[in-house]
Every structure is written in structure tokens, then in C-alpha cells.
């Protein structure tokens, strides 16, 4: 059976160009910090990768710090900013209810240390506004952190406007752009971003590598202490092959962004239209301001894990925000934040596409899903009740 991979928000396949960059860098075994020829060779590769990532974001080379991925970047930015501003007597952090756990759990940890965390609610379509942020800012605000694109429902937040508000109020602004970079245009200067997290494996780069952009002049305290790598701001001998692979993947993603978007959006919309044509099915997240690759729907009366395993049996890799798949009692916090009741949130399905997704694959998914939903509904006492109440 051919595998249909529609879980690109979880991770992506590494691109041939990224793979090649990784392989080339493996051969360069020197330590970029060494002074000899072998070290210099590695340093030049690292320096080139940094320049490529910087140019992809509209940043300067010395504003890019390589990390182990999106989670580390989020932790570093948030913990660092909190500590930096605490010295100035500021102890409030503003964020949203739909952030990734890499942000939310970091905020929870800071809350235990005495920080006050304000999680802004989102609209039923899954957006916050710059006005909400502006109204929440006080003289004690240490940091605003709002994700650029949501990983579950694909909504793109008004980061530019939020950045402008923060800049005008003199408040630090971080954005988790892990699901955005390489998929939608990003420019840290134009968007007034002080810190930005990205992760290599979300745009066909390797896993376990990422970067944090820190605007020049922000003396963010270190998260990882040790050697003088990354200008003394992030210790540890750099993961050169992965960094080079990430830079190559990002350069490629940015070059092809327009072309890829033009290809993916019609497929995404075909899926959205086809799936929401199934009775009692809703789209999660607004249609406008949505990343090109995200489809998220909820089918009433069924549970997401059963659906996922049936899709898997049919060769389709997808994801869900149900409690069973999250490994907890509650369905995804994002689906609850857009106002869904538990019963409906349990029936969620996320399909995330890539430029390799084909129309045939989309058609196959649209052929298979309604049948599985119907089958599961037929054995569902919840669906039985819904149908009874309708009569």
C-alpha cells in the first residue's frame, strides 16, 4: 500500500537538497571553534548557514543563534526574557491560550517562580487581536509571546500589528514561528519582532535543530552555559550537519514559497470543502489567514483516535487533538480555546499537506474519510443520541 503522508505539521520529509547539505557537512569533521584548517573549514560552513537563515528572516547574521529545535528556542526566549526583565521589576507575561506546549509549559514553570501569566483568549475562529494585547500590557509587562501560526488549527496571528504595539510600548516581543517559517513570508524587521523561534524539521530540514533570532541589543541571558559557541550565548559544539541541512531546506522553502503555496492552497481548500460536506462536520480555525498546509475539522459523534487508526490502516498518516491521542483526559487545549465542547473536540482530525501532496491523494482521502466516519458513527451511542434529538 502506498503511504499518503498528511502530517507535515508534525514533521516533514527531509528534502534532497537538505540531505545533500547534511552529508557534505558530515565530511567536514573539524570543530568550528578550532583555529586550524579543519576547524576553519567547519566554521565557514556554519557561517554560511547562519547567513542563509538570517537572510531568510530579514535578520543580521549575528542575530541568529542555533539551538536544538523549536522547544529549546521557545524556552530560551521566554525564560531569558523573563529573567532579563525581572531585574527591572517587571514580572508579567502576556501570551495566548493556543500556544504550543513548549511555550505554555515554560510559562507554567515561570508562574511557579512568581511570574504572573496572562493567557489571552482567542475568537471562535482562533485569532487574537493586537488590541487585546495592547489592553493587557501594563507597566509590569516583561514579555509578550504570541505564536505566528498555530500548529493545530493553522490560524495566522496578526504578528505585525502585535509587534508594532509592543515596540511602541517598549515591551519585548517573542513569536513562536515554528509552523510559519518556510511556509509564509516572515521578516523580523518589518514585523517588529524581537525574538523568533524556528525549527528545522517543519520545512523539510533535519529534526533536532532550530534557531532563535534575537534582535541586536537584547542581552538575553543564556539558557545553556558552557563554551563560547554561538558568540558565547549558547554553549555546545554545534550540530553542523543538521544546521547546514536546515539552512539548505530553508533557502529552498523560501525560494519555492510562492510556487508551493499556489499548489497547496487549492488542495487544502478541496479537502476542507469535501470534508465539511460530511454532515455535522465543522472546520476548526478561520478560512482566511490560515497557513497553506493546514486542514482541521471535527466530526461529531466519533472519537479521533479510532478515526486515525482507520486512516492509518488505509495508508493515510494524519493527526488528531482528541484526549486519547493527547494521552490525557482532556482534548487539545487549542480546540477548547476556540470554544468547542469536549464531545466535539474529541472528534478532531488534522491533515497537514506539503508541496508533495497530489490531487490524487486528496481525492483518495475524500473517498475514504466519509466512509470511515459513517462506519464509526453507526456504532456510536453518541451519534445515536444526536440523530434522535434531531428527529
Amino acid at each position: 500500500m502506498k503511504r499518503i503522508y498528511m502530517d507535515n505539521a508534525a514533521t516533514t520529509a527531509i528534502s534532497p537538497a537538505a540531505m545533500q547539505a547534511v552529508q557534505q557537512a558530515w565530511e567536514v569533521y573539524g570543530n568550528p571553534s578550532s583555529l586550524h584548517g579543519a576547524g576553519r573549514e567547519a566554521f565557514f560552513l556554519l557561517d554560511k548557514a547562519r547567513a542563509d537563515v538570517a537572510s531568510a528572516l530579514g535578520a543580521e547574521k549575528n542575530e541568529i543563534f542555533f539551538t536544538s529545535g523549536g522547544s529549546e528556542s521557545d524556552n530560551w526566549a521566554i525564560i531569558g526574557a523573563a529573567k532579563l526583565m525581572q531585574k527591572k521589576g517587571k514580572n508579567e507575561i502576556i501570551s495566548t491560550a493556543i500556544e504550543h506546549h513548549a511555550v505554555l509549559h515554560t510559562l507554567n514553570a515561570l508562574e511557579k517562580e512568581g511570574f504572573k501569566v496572562i493567557l489571552l483568549p482567542v475568537s471562535a475562529e482562533g485569532y487574537v487581536t493586537a488590541e487585546q494585547v495592547e489592553n493587557a500590557i501594563t507597566e509590569n509587562t516583561a514579555l509578550v509571546t504570541v505564536m505566528m501560526a498555530n500548529n493545530e488549527i493553522g490560524t495566522i496571528q496578526p504578528v505585525s500589528e502585535i509587534g508594532a504595539v509592543c515596540r511602541s510600548k517598549g515591551v519585548l516581543f517573542h513569536t513562536d514561528a515554528v509552523q510559519a517559517v518556510g511556509h509564509i513570508p516572515v521578516n523580523v524587521k518589518e514585523m517588529n519582532i524581537d525574538m523568533l523561534s524556528l525549527s528545522g524539521h517543519k520545512f523539510h530540514g533535519p529534526k533536532g535543530v532550530g534557531a532563535l533570532y534575537v534582535r541586536k541589543g537584547i542581552r538575553l541571558p543564556n539558557l545553556i552555559n558552557g563554551g563560547a559557541q554561538e558568540s558565547g550565548r549558547r554553549a555546545g559544539t554545534e550540530n553542523l550537519p543538521s544546521i547546514c541541512g536546515m539552512a539548505a531546506a530553508l533557502t529552498e522553502a523560501i525560494e519555492n514559497m510562492e510556487k508551493n503555496t499556489a499548489k497547496i492552497v487549492p488542495l487544502r481548500d478541496k479537502l476542507i470543502n469535501g470534508l465539511t460536506a460530511v454532515e455535522r462536520t465543522r472546520l476548526n480555525g478561520g478560512r482566511e489567514n490560515r497557513v497553506p498546509n493546514n486542514v482541521s475539522v471535527c466530526f461529531e459523534g466519533i472519537e479521533g483516535e479510532s478515526l486515525l487508526l482507520w486512516l492509518d490502516a488505509k495508508g493515510i498518516c494524519a493527526s488528531s487533538g482528541s484526549a486519547c491521542t493527547s494521552g490525557s483526559l482532556d482534548p487539545s487545549h487549542v480546540l477548547l480555546a476556540i470554544g468547542l465542547i469536549h464531545e466535539i473536540a474529541h472528534g478532531s482530525l488534522r491533515l497537514s499537506l506539503s508541496e508533495h501532496t497530489t490531487e490524487e491523494e486528496v481525492d483518495y482521502v475524500l473517498e475514504v474519510v466519509p466512509g470511515i466516519v459513517k462506519y464509526l458513527r453507526e456504532m456510536s451511542p453518541v451519534w445515536e443520541k444526536i440523530v434522535k434529538e434531531e428527529k
Binding site: 474529541h346 456504532m379 456510536s380 451511542p381
Partner: protein, 151 residues
């Protein structure tokens, strides 16, 4: 998370799915809010033997698989034997469940008991049958809250 082959078999080819219109006992347990509901229908003959059993389940793969296995285990048995069905027996018959899914087997045990309780009630026979407490977190967080007996 990896399910055993038995679980996948009972998930993909569930036995005894459906309803019994003229059932002699029906039991429904669980809560849609928590993500699983099981409904079991019994047909019982004059000797108290379960001649037919069907289920409807809303829930994850292990909820469907445990429902299916539980119905298999009580089919042809007496209602009193069915009352003895333990969640452990269901888990063992399925070659194990991941720890976070053990609550599904508890639910299956309770669904069977609820159906038998309904059977006795319809018969006008008084019988003390412990049922579902109605508190999901009890089963879901079995290890901490209920002193659960699973390993």
C-alpha cells in the same frame, strides 16, 4: 503507542457490533466528555443464559476492542457469570493494553454489569450490583485515584 495484534484485530473486526431491539437488558456507561461511552445489549433466555449480546461504542481503538472482547467473553454464559467478568480478564484476553488505556477495560466491565443490573431490574429481582461511579477521572487516572489493580 503500540497496540497488540489482538487489540487491532478486535478494533478493525469488532465482534457483536450493533443493537438488539427487544433486549432483555441494556447498560450504558461512560461519558462523551471524557471520550468514551459503551452501550451493551443482552438477550437472556429463561435459564439466565446470555444467548445474544451486542454493543455500540464511542471511543478510541481500545474502547472498541475492549467492548468487542467483553461481549465475546460473556456470550453463552449465565448472567451471574457475566457479573464476574473483570477488566483484568478483558485485558489478558487482548494480550494487554497500554497503561493509559486500561480504563477502557474498566469501562467494559462496568458496561456488562450495568446491562446485567438492567436485566435484573426488568425482572423485578433485587440484586446489589456495584456500577460506574460516574466519575471519569476515577477510571482515567485509575492508578492514582482508585488503587487500580493493573500492573
Amino acid at each position: 503507542m503500540i497496540y497488540s495484534e489482538k487489540v487491532m484485530d478486535h478494533f478493525q473486526n469488532p465482534r457483536n457490533v450493533g443493537k438488539i431491539e427487544d433486549a432483555d437488558g441494556v447498560g450504558e456507561v461512560g461519558n462523551a466528555k471524557c471520550g468514551d461511552i459503551m452501550k451493551i445489549y443482552l438477550k437472556v433466555d429463561d435459564n439466565g443464559i446470555i444467548t445474544d449480546v451486542k454493543f455500540n461504542t464511542y471511543g478510541c481503538a481500545s474502547a472498541i476492542a475492549t467492548s468487542s472482547m467483553a461481549t465475546e467473553l460473556i456470550k453463552g454464559k449465565s448472567v451471574d457469570d457475566a457479573l464476574q467478568l473483570s477488566n483484568k480478564a478483558v485485558v489478558e484476553a487482548l494480550d494487554g493494553l497500554p497503561p493509559v488505556k486500561v480504563h477502557c477495560s474498566v469501562l467494559a466491565e462496568e458496561a456488562v454489569r450495568a446491562a446485567v443490573a438492567d436485566y435484573y431490574q426488568r425482572k423485578g429481582i433485587e440484586k446489589e450490583i456495584p456500577g460506574c461511579s460516574g466519575n471519569c477521572s476515577c477510571c482515567h487516572l485509575h492508578d492514582e485515584h482508585c488503587g487500580g489493580d493493573e500492573e
